[in-house]
């Protein structure tokens, strides 16, 4: 009797380890606490939702996906330690982090280990350092700014533009690309204004915009400063149309700026309000599972897992060393892989090309006004 129990236990153990061996291991390091908790939690929930869906349909090449989540505490130092720990467990692919600063310090570790890293950061420089293992889930500035410049030139018909930017890596990166693109298209930058992070008083900056009298104003600041300048622009009666990015027309900016946000337009790479059936379905599934409406970080986490699935199926095998090579230059169509939500192409640098959206704030709400096509 005892030997029968022992045999049964051994069999169960053997079965369990064999299933475990077959599972494809992913490691996620995200901002689950600290200042980026909203970003990281959305990202994590998106990942879990995608894995649940994929496993329910039989996994990837017949193997289940498994993920471990680690908390970076929104701190680049902690992120680096967590990524090192995650890489020591030899995952198939590394997911995260979401903050550009954390990505910047962890990307060399993943590259050294030869493990592909699919992350949420958007700073332009991340994919410009020649890292062959780093992939975005959303636009970097070098992808979004040309679309912004094109919209200002073609749709807003602006011959003269005032550019206001925040004097940090994020702001300078975006400003450099947009000014170059506007110049190339023939829209003249008549005011090029750098502002400080945390700046409270924008009266002088708006005064300069007023005296430059531009056809359009491009605002590229963080959320709180965006709200302050929107209020000041309204206070000083600037009527030129305002264009920005997600940071100009986000929900927090609308809440802070109130009426002053109305009419502001922004280019948005990913939004759960997008008029795309697959995104609407995602939003519904996510809201049902987690009881709240996800932001674009939920979409990013979800897409990261489907990038793993599509790339692995393209290779026809689970090979961490070939993963990055395969994803470079790959186009994934939503018709073939609905989980990717929109057709997407990955460049040799790990940047993405995908359709995006032009959003306008109308009576305190974001309204998608236009779908902007892929660049190529």
């Amino acid at each position: 009797m005892r030997s029968a129990i022992l045999a049964g236990a051994l069999l169960a153990f053997a079965t369990a380890t064999s299933v475990h061996a077959q599972a494809i291991k992913l490691a996620d390091v995200a901002e689950l606490s600290g200042g980026g908790a909203t970003v990281g939690t959305n990202w994590k929930n998106g990942i879990d939702l995608a894995i649940e869906e994929i496993n329910a349909k039989g996994g990837v090449l017949g193997r289940k996906l498994e993920v471990t989540h680690a908390d970076s505490q929104s701190n680049p130092g902690v992120a680096r330690a967590q990524v090192q720990k995650a890489l020591d467990a030899e995952p198939y692919v590394l997911l995260g982090p979401g903050y550009s600063g954390s990505v910047k310090v962890t990307a060399p570790l993943a590259a050294e280990a030869g493990i592909a890293q699919i992350m949420g950061g958007e700073a332009a420089e991340l994919t410009q350092a020649g890292n062959k293992f780093l992939f975005r889930t959303s636009f970097g500035q070098q992808s979004s700014m040309p679309k912004v410049a094109k919209y200002i030139h073609d749709e807003m018909k602006a011959k003269s533009v005032a550019v206001v930017w925040v004097n940090n890596d994020f702001g300078r990166g975006g400003r450099d690309v947009v000014v170059k693109e506007l110049d190339r298209l023939g829209s003249k930058v008549v005011a090029d204004l750098s502002t400080e992070a945390g700046q409270a008083d924008f009266a002088a900056d708006v005064g300069k915009i007023k005296s430059a009298n531009p056809d359009a104003v491009f605002v590229y600041l963080n959320e709180e400063e965006s709200a302050r300048i929107l209020k000041e622009l309204k206070r000083q009666g600037v009527t030129a149309p305002l264009m920005g990015e997600t940071t100009l027309i986000g929900q927090k900016v609308i809440e802070l700026a109130g009426d002053a946000a109305n009419g502001a337009r922004g280019h948005v790479g990913l939004t759960t309000d997008a008029p795309v059936d697959l995104i609407k379905a995602f939003r519904e599934k996510f809201s049902k599972k987690y009881n709240y409406v996800p932001d674009h970080n939920g979409l990013k986490g979800y897409l990261a897992v489907y990038m793993v699935k599509a790339t692995t199926e393209k290779m026809g095998k689970v090979d961490p060393k070939k993963f990055a090579d395969t994803l470079h230059g790959l186009t994934i169509k939503a018709a073939d892989e609905p989980g990717i939500l929109m057709d997407v192409t990955f460049s040799e640098t790990g940047d993405i090309d995908r359709q995006s959206f032009l959003v306008e704030v109308v009576e305190g709400k974001q309204v998608v006004k236009q779908v902007l096509p892929k660049v190529k």
């Binding site: 009266a203 002088a204 007023k210 709180e224 000083q236 809440e255 802070l256 109130g258």
Partner: protein
Amino acid sequence: MSNLFDLLVAGLATGAIYALVAVGFTLLWQTSQTINFAQGEFVMLPAFLMLAAMHAGAPFWLAIILGILLSMLLLGLAFKMLLVDPMMRHGVLPLAIATMALAIGIKESVKQFFSAEASPFPSIVPTGDISILGHAVSLQSIGVLVVAILAVFGLTSLLNRTSLGHQMQAAAQNPTVARIIGVPVERMILLTFLINAFLVALASLLITPIYLAKFSSGEVLGQAAFIAAIVGGFNQVRGAIAGGLLIGVLDNLAASYVSTQYRAAVPLIFLIVVILFRPQGLLGRAEERTA
């Protein structure tokens, strides 16, 4: 030219708020030799008290009244009794350092109990423009200027034209003699703390709709008002007013005509020049207070 006019109006409006805060600095210094490094946080806190009242269901006007009363209680009475009085007997420097600690305490508490993120704050002045000399000037700027001027006018009238004001000045200039002639010096000192609390609450009400309610917003204001008080003359209310307006205008002109990056440096350079050539401040008197 139109730009210059706009800059002057915006600078005067901001400067008027600096003036309110700077006047508080000088009042506390004159009556109790308190250098309050938490003055910026004193401007930040009332907005959050008002927001808390609104979250509890109070209408805006009631929240303003409650916010001002609570400020006078916490930043006037409690500040004096719990921090200034016990520390004062150890000298000016320990007290100044204690106010620095208080500044950190207020800031972190607001972050802890409210939020680290900025919150919107309603304006008492409607948005919109009026035309002055052919220039469109925002009602908000005018409103801020008018309220601040009325407050300063009220204060100077109180100080110069009433018996209470004369007693306060006597208590400030020579407390020993004031006591001998029957001025209730302690009560006068408490009154200046309450007036300071009222002024910072008013400044908070005027500035927060523009700067947004945020735990860190006192840092800039405190520094600007401190510079304004020194530039104008730390021992003169009219000096603090002139200093506030001057710093507000200078800051805006510097941001526009020098550079945004160096805007914060320009008032400081001005401060150094004033200290080198007129140490008592532009309108200040050489120190004549006796302990």
